[in-house]
Symmetry: C2
Subunit: 354 residues, 2 copies
């Protein structure tokens, strides 16, 4: 937990990782370089000609595949909205010290790759296999342990038909920062699930208890609470900040009149059921119009609202709810790791007379 200001250590993370500039919410698919990015350790340099994916552990048939072999298999493209589990962390009080996101740690990509389920079928998990462990090539020290970044999935989740081993983003080979040559993609789950720079897939006969599973990425009340693991993305709506910004404060100025507010909303739990907009900081709400889900079930959903902008200062908010009954809270909910703060966005707008 921290003081009022962001420390130089946090700033080191904020200058190397990056969010999606919120005006890019106008695009259904986020261009390369504008999708949010979080890298735990360093971006590894991978030689695709010598790289191989190893599949082993509790399987009948261990496998080793190179990139050409993977690309020769049947492929599938999935549009998925990905969000960092730490999105909103820097707005939680008392502050939690880690990557200090405000609300921009999100993006939507067109991910192409092979179905993980098909590969698992070929490897034939043994009857005692319960989890699938994914090991990346990025190595560092965290919680005083030297480690490769690795996370697991329950076998049943790993066998979902839309879980990919992805080698393309937006029609091009994965960029280095998004996991070249191969990453996991689990649509609907928070970003840390989607292990980058994949080197090894290991079937386990007991749940994985490494740091990124048992220590990090859990909703914990305090250090004694083992907490609940973070899995699927909680709902959030974000607004394209209207009008023009002031450089330093990012405060917005618009002209009076009817203004179409637009944004996007997503949830990893269930389809978006509705988005509401407020122009008085969350006291009163009106329903926005949802666009069709043209990118499929795992991508954010566009929405719009015609706002009668009257001169003065207004605080615009938006909030989403999903069909599973999850709704964004008005205020952040504190937890030890500063995760999953999906409190509603607030955008201060000055409306001036034309």
């Amino acid at each position: 937990m921290g003081t009022d200001g962001i420390s130089q250590e946090e700033l080191q993370l904020a200058t190397r990782n990056h969010g999606m500039p919120l005006e890019l919410l106008r695009e259904p698919v986020t261009p390369i370089g504008l999708h949010y990015l979080l890298v735990h350790y360093d971006i590894p340099s991978v030689d695709a000609t010598s790289w191989r994916l190893e599949v082993g552990g509790r399987v009948e048939r261990a496998m080793s595949l190179d990139l050409d072999e993977l690309r020769a298999r049947p492929s599938l493209e999935v549009a998925a909205t990905m969000e960092c589990a730490g999105n909103g962390r820097a707005r939680i009080e008392p502050r939690v010290i880690s990557q200090p996101w405000l609300s921009e740690a999100v993006g939507t990509g067109l991910w192409r790759g092979v179905r993980l389920a098909d590969l698992l079928d070929d490897a034939r998990p043994r009857d005692d296999a319960v989890e699938v462990l994914f090991t990346g090539l990025d190595r560092g020290i965290e919680n005083e342990e030297e480690q490769f970044f690795e996370r697991s999935l329950p076998l049943e989740e790993a066998r979902r038909s839309d879980v990919l081993l992805a080698y393309e983003l937006n029609g091009a080979p994965l960029p280095p920062q998004h996991g070249f040559p191969l990453r996991l993609l689990v649509p609907g789950w928070y970003g840390m699930t989607n292990v980058k720079w994949l080197a090894r897939i290991t079937l386990l006969d007991e749940p994985f208890d490494g740091y990124q599973q048992a220590g990090g990425y859990r909703l914990r009340r305090d250090a004694d609470d083992p907490g609940r693991p973070l899995t699927r993305i909680f709902p959030r709506a974000l607004l394209v900040p209207p009008g023009i910004p002031e450089f330093m404060s990012r405060a917005r100025t618009v002209d009076a009149g009817t203004l179409r507010l637009v944004g996007r909303a997503w949830s990893g739990h269930a389809p978006i059921a509705g988005v509401e907009v407020s122009d008085d900081g969350g006291s009163t709400w009106a329903s926005a119009e949802l666009e069709p889900a043209t990118l499929g079930p795992w991508a954010w959903r566009g929405w719009s609202y015609d706002w009668a902008a009257k001169p003065g200062e207004h605080v615009l908010c938006c909030r989403a709810r999903d069909e599973a009954g999850n709704e964004q809270p008005l205020e952040p909910q504190w937890n030890l790791g500063g995760y999953a703060n999906n409190a509603v966005q607030r955008v201060t707008v000055t409306v001036r007379r034309r």
Copy 2:
């Protein structure tokens, strides 16, 4: 000037703009999405089919060109290292409040476009033309003035044979965040010079006195000092942080033994004359070996140094000097805007016994 911590306003800029993760210094050309990015206002959405570049002002022949017409002209590719004039700002004390860069606001791109000089020849500047003004499409409020981002160059500088109107980066159309469809590229000058989302080029018969020229981007002692304009990049060397990082502190751990330290160095004033390395925080220095300047005169130069890493904690530093006699200082030099802090990088490394 600020307090010890970074404010939420500064963090808003740090989460939307981004630096180059320093491990990417290993690459001679920075991949898309990893090149540093600073956007003053919002990234504009430009429809390339209706976009035109207007050339006017003090010219005999005003012109209006679409993207196809520009692409049909002879083109040139220039490898250029670009750095933000604010790089290093967050390490200056007392702190200056703006985009809080540490040392990562840099990148090298392969920029392709048409020679500005050729276009100016066609437009035939009048005898009284002294400057060329470049107006971008990004609009916002700064210094309480509503403005498009615009900057000028002296006519002589604009006529340099390597100044481009660039429409490609690394062999692909400019990404939206780097100025699609067209930007100015002035190799060797700080980033703000290279106006993005170009809409208009205007020949002026007197020096431009808009905010980004007369207010911002000047080395000023205090608010009463008009200061000197920032133009060419001062020298800097950066080191690929060796070994592996700790997630939060980014502190490095390496094994004892001979370790090849590598990095890159650049200056916009003159070719790099030498790079030195220190492993004791800058008390003693040894010369690094410079690689050939294979990317041409405007790109950073690789260097290496074989370091005998002995167990314990060390502070690695590197510093560059150029053939014009500019050398990096050991400590930051304060100025009102927090610009051009090219004090030497310091990387704390723990060397452990193998």
